[in-house]
Symmetry: C2
Subunit: 331 residues, 2 copies
């Protein structure tokens, strides 16, 4: 029995291509004392991975050439040299783009009684959902009646951020690419409005959709949309900088013009990464689980089948071709 892994073969120049990855077969990892062997069932594909492929320093170490691509996973314990986990236990972790991994239990999170399909623990009940909760709670927090704008609104994080803001009683305006996504964001996720950034008139559309200005911006994209939002902020607005996906593939960063708004409106802005706030994971999961069970939180997934298709699915996700959270089922 062999492990299969996707390695970083070369650093992308601009857009990622399949040739930036290499699929290899390797021996199963040997278990050290205290470790368990996990057979991954689902792999999460997320925008942050694009940053890790670059040579630029970032908040987390880059992936080295020839090394395993990083990624969140859900899987099953199939061998154990630890008393903390037994065979058959379901665990989430950061085990990367591979079928099997040896890991210590304290770096895994046991999913005791799943209340949703396992893949949801990579999305609405996983890192993206918790990211949305933490960002709003930490940087927002949005008050009932305020206007909240969410970019990448149909994505794994944005879709949850906007729904939480709705639950909190806010007017929620999404921004997404294309009419199908926008329809999904309003019809399925219940946002008050969704703007298509590929349309010509985003500045006008934003003004029309936010007649009372913008109080909270949950930013997943950076760049031009960030700049446009700055123009519509209200005094004492808050900006959660959660992602800058519009910039990850750019070789030249976007030149932002409207920073005057930060002073004029006394804006509070914070860049954040969920892994800095792990103490908030349990309260976030309590809320998210309760809302999901109560039917207040909706999600959509795009499922690729087989590790071989992970690179293609990743590229499609970065292009924004698909709706909802991108996962790979590791059959």
């Amino acid at each position: 029995m062999l492990n299969r892994q996707v390695l970083l073969a070369r650093r992308p120049q601009g857009w990622v291509t399949q040739a930036d990855f290499r699929l290899v077969e390797t021996p199963l990892p040997e278990l050290a004392e205290g470790q368990v062997l996990v057979r991954n069932r689902y792999l999460s594909l997320d925008p942050y991975m694009r940053m890790r492929m670059n040579d630029t320093p970032s908040y987390a170490p880059k992936v080295e050439l020839g090394q395993l691509m990083v990624g969140g996973t859900v899987g099953e314990v199939i061998d154990t040299r630890s008393a903390a986990l037994k065979n058959g236990d379901i665990v989430s972790g950061l085990l990367g783009w591979q079928l099997y991994a040896a890991e210590r239990p304290e770096r895994l999170r046991r999913i005791d009684t799943p209340i949703a399909p396992l893949s949801a623990y990579l999305g609405v009940l996983g890192m993206p959902g918790v990211t949305a909760w933490v960002g709003l709670e930490l940087v927002g927090p949005p008050k009932a009646g305020e206007t909240v704008v969410v970019s990448a609104a149909s994505g794994a994080v944005g879709s949850v951020a906007g729904q939480i803001a709705r639950i909190r009683g806010c007017r929620v305006v999404g921004i997404a690419g294309g009419s199908e996504k926008c329809r999904h964001v309003t019809a399925d996720l219940g946002f008050d409005a969704c703007l298509d950034y590929k349309a010509d008139n985003l500045a006008d559309a934003l003004a029309a959709a936010c007649p009372d200005g913008i109080d909270v911006y949950f930013d997943n994209v950076g760049g031009r949309i960030f700049d446009l939002v700055l123009e519509r902020l209200n005094p004492f607005a808050r900006i959660c900088v959660c992602g800058q996906v519009s910039q990850y593939n750019e070789t030249e960063p976007y030149a932002t013009r409207n920073l005057r708004s930060l002073l004029v409106n006394r804006v509070k802005l914070q860049g954040f990464i969920v892994s800095d706030h792990m103490a908030l994971w349990p309260p976030a999961m309590r809320d998210l689980s309760a809302w999901l069970s109560a039917g207040k939180l909706h999600y959509r997934e795009t499922v690729a089948h087989g590790l071989d298709h992970a690179p293609e699915a990743f590229i499609n996700m970065l292009r924004g071709d698909k709706l909802g959270k991108q996962v790979v089922k590791l059959d």
Copy 2:
């Protein structure tokens, strides 16, 4: 006896000129019941006034054409129809570019026992000093051993912000325009280093002066320097956006490139205006007064004489021609 006032004659296009102002003589204001008449002794000239001359919406109402220029003042009560203040009381307030004003006592601040010349209550013991204290306290706060960068370091706010950070045990690097200001900032104010932004190599100089990166940036200028500082921020850096004086005279805003740093370094940034935080005025004044009395806080003033010279002095201040806090003695 007549009042003399400086009015906004026209809105500046780019740089302010003397023709943007008009000096007029008007009757003394009549006192309504509950008001006092103040003879202003000093007028404060500050960068924020430049923004008020524009037609653009900002955090405070613009000055209308033909109306009195806004500004902080220190003066003496010379007539009173209120029990709250008596003749001879010294008060600071926002009475504008004029010799006399009628005002209600609750909009004035009585200076009971001055511990410094009255003009200091427009600088180190006034709005600029309190602004520095509030910005650092609210957005920083800087911890001993951290590196704090302050732009417009020889200015009324920056000079105090940097000295407070020194008192707090930080390494403090100023940025100022020209070698004379830089000498003042290090030799007289005790900053660890001061960089001349008019020199060619600001990016290199910043890297050299901040070998451990930047933890707190007290920003008075915005624009290019803000962009350069972003490149050197440490994880969990904080940015107080207190002013953007480099932009006030520009018709096109600077295009900022390095916003990626906000996410990568999980930066907390906040635009703030001291008037939103008046509850912090008393603790700020306690600290500033104690430090000044103890010789831990130093300041420099540039004094213009006579209201007629206020426009010229204001223009010089915006150009950065002078050292320290600009005031006008209203003889």
